[in-house]
């Protein structure tokens, strides 16, 4: 078995303008249908709530007073922002794509990324 992260990219403006009532139902239905494969997932709050941290992890031994810079906004500005994810565990890419095809994604698209196994 292998892990894949299914990334849901969303056109936030379109989503905000026309959020359908049944979207959550669609996700619940998807989760029920692919419960065997699902290992986790979440919806993310809009990218306007994101905070970027640049230069993180550069201070030795986690000493206080790092050089990391904190700024408002997502790390990368894109028209379609990351809006959520599902983590799945399936035998191969074909199985991952079969799950990904069913993800409700009316406001954007899906990207499937293989995880590198922790060894």
């Amino acid at each position: 078995m292998a892990g894949y992260l299914i990334l849901l990219y969303v056109d936030e403006a379109a989503y905000a303008a026309d959020k359908p009532d049944d979207l959550m139902d669609a996700h619940l239905k998807f989760q029920a249908a692919h419960g065997d494969a699902l290992r986790g997932g979440a919806q993310l709050a809009p990218s306007a709530t994101a905070t970027a941290v640049r230069g993180a992890g550069t201070t030795p031994d986690y000493a206080a007073g790092t050089d990391a810079e904190v700024t408002d906004g997502p790390y990368v500005e894109t028209k379609e922002a990351l809006g959520g994810y599902y983590l799945i565990d399936v035998p191969d890419l074909d199985a991952a794509l079969a799950v990904a095809r069913d993800v409700p994604a009316a406001f954007g698209g899906i990207e499937v990324r293989p995880l590198i196994p922790m060894s």
């Binding site: 292998a2 035998p91 191969d92 890419l93 074909d94 991952a96 794509l97 079969a98 499937v112 293989p114 590198i116 196994p117």
Partner: protein
């Protein structure tokens, strides 16, 4: 056949099957390729001393698999850079495990998760045994670019776990479509090599024929598969006459039809007819079957003048109704010119001149030049002719256009 010729012949015929069987052992494309290369080198030595074996393919498969088993046994699993390919257990009831392996390799190379140019390159390299240099040359790409493309695709297959498998019924239509696209691209690239000194790249057309036959054997009821095989046959049947003895391009009108390959034409025509008869309302004929039918009309005409151009225009209309395509529209306009005269042809070409995808396509200018010449507008014809010359990438086609301008 000398032993050296036998190795060369086996390279052309058996590379794909030998590699496919070896991949099943190594579960790694690079290692499998190395083992197969070594097996061919071993054959060169062994067949010179011991003679050519009765079944060269089986000999090579055994040699390559033995090397593969050796490597798998001694491999330091922890040191592996890439994960192993995802393979299924061979089905115990599979009557043709070898062909299943070969098809698994085809479907892996043509997986839609790979970029289309990478699918074509992998198919030619892993199934056709072409070198990266040969593939780069056929597609007008620098060799390092092509090498990087192949390496990236192999890495993705391993890391993203593209399975080594013939897809199940649910996925099959879409996956088969992707495979047919690759085979068709190999055919068209081979038939009119986009660049270089030769008009036809035999190695590519041969591979397209092998692949189409392989698919036909496994999917005998698929109309698109049958249509594509018919198209390959009917295209390749005219190979001998497309280029003259001096390497120059011979027009369809001037080709010696007695030198066309009659058995290939018979096989292709029968197939194309079969597919078209099976199509109907709600079951449209595939693009390949329609292209094959057009080729069949050409092949069946005893002379160029006897060509049933109205039938060809009709077939192009059906093709365009299924999927608009500027190149098909251009071919249709040329057929209109032959069916209804050069003025009608020019008229049919006119709307295509604004088509951005045809702006750099030399056939459009060449067709315009031809019709203008037939109408006696020599100055305009010359202008269109030099435009075509400027755009043509293949030396043989360039020489042809040049010669015609000088006449």
């Amino acid at each position: 056949m000398t032993p050296d010729d036998a190795v060369a012949d086996a390279h052309r015929r058996e590379w794909g099957p030998v590699l496919a069987a070896t991949v099943r052992v190594t579960r790694d494309l690079d290692t499998a390729e190395e083992c197969v290369q070594e097996a061919y080198a071993q054959a060169l030595e062994a067949w010179r001393t011991d003679g050519v074996p009765r079944s060269p393919g089986a000999w090579l498969t055994t040699a390559a698999r033995r090397r593969a088993l050796d490597r798998v046994r001694h491999a330091d699993v922890a040191a592996r850079a890439l994960p192993l390919l995802v393979t299924d257990e061979a089905a115990p009831d599979d009557p043709e495990p070898d062909r299943t392996d070969l098809l698994a390799l085809v479907f892996t190379c043509c997986h839609p998760a790979l970029a289309e140019p990478a699918r074509v390159a992998l198919t030619l390299r892993l199934l056709g045994g072409l070198t990266t240099f040969q593939i780069a040359k056929a597609f007008l790409v620098p060799e390092p670019t092509m090498a990087a493309r192949i390496t990236r695709a192999k890495k993705k297959i391993a890391t993203a776990r593209v399975p080594y498998r013939v897809p199940g019924p649910a996925e099959l239509p879409e996956r088969l479509d992707a495979v047919l696209t690759v085979v068709h691209l190999v055919l068209t690239t081979g038939h009119t090599a986009p660049d270089g000194e030769h008009l036809v790249r035999r190695d590519l057309v041969d591979r397209a024929l092998d692949l189409a036959r392989l698919l036909r054997a496994r999917f005998p009821d698929d109309g698109a598969v049958a249509g594509l095989l018919a198209l390959v046959l009917l295209t390749d049947a005219r190979r001998a006459t497309r280029v003259g003895a001096d390497g120059s391009l011979t027009r369809l009108a001037d080709q010696d039809r007695s030198r066309w390959d009659a058995p290939m034409i018979a096989e292709g025509t029968t197939l194309a007819k079969e597919v078209l008869l099976r199509s109907g309302p709600g079951r449209p004929a595939s693009r390949y079957a329609l292209l094959a039918a057009i080729a069949a009309v050409h092949c069946e005409a005893p002379t160029f003048a006897d060509t049933d151009w109205a039938e060809i225009v009709g077939l192009y209309d059906v093709l365009l109704a299924g999927r608009p395509d500027p190149v098909v529209a251009l071919n249709r306009a040329v057929a209109v010119g032959f069916a209804d005269g050069p003025a009608a042809g020019l008229e049919a070409l006119r709307p295509l001149e604004a088509e951005p995808r045809l702006a750099s396509y030399h056939y459009l200018a060449a067709a315009r030049a031809e019709f203008l010449r037939l109408l006696g507008h020599d100055d305009e014809a010359a202008l269109a002719g030099s435009e075509a010359l400027l755009l043509a990438g293949n030396a043989v086609e360039r020489t042809f256009l040049q010669d015609r301008d000088e006449r």
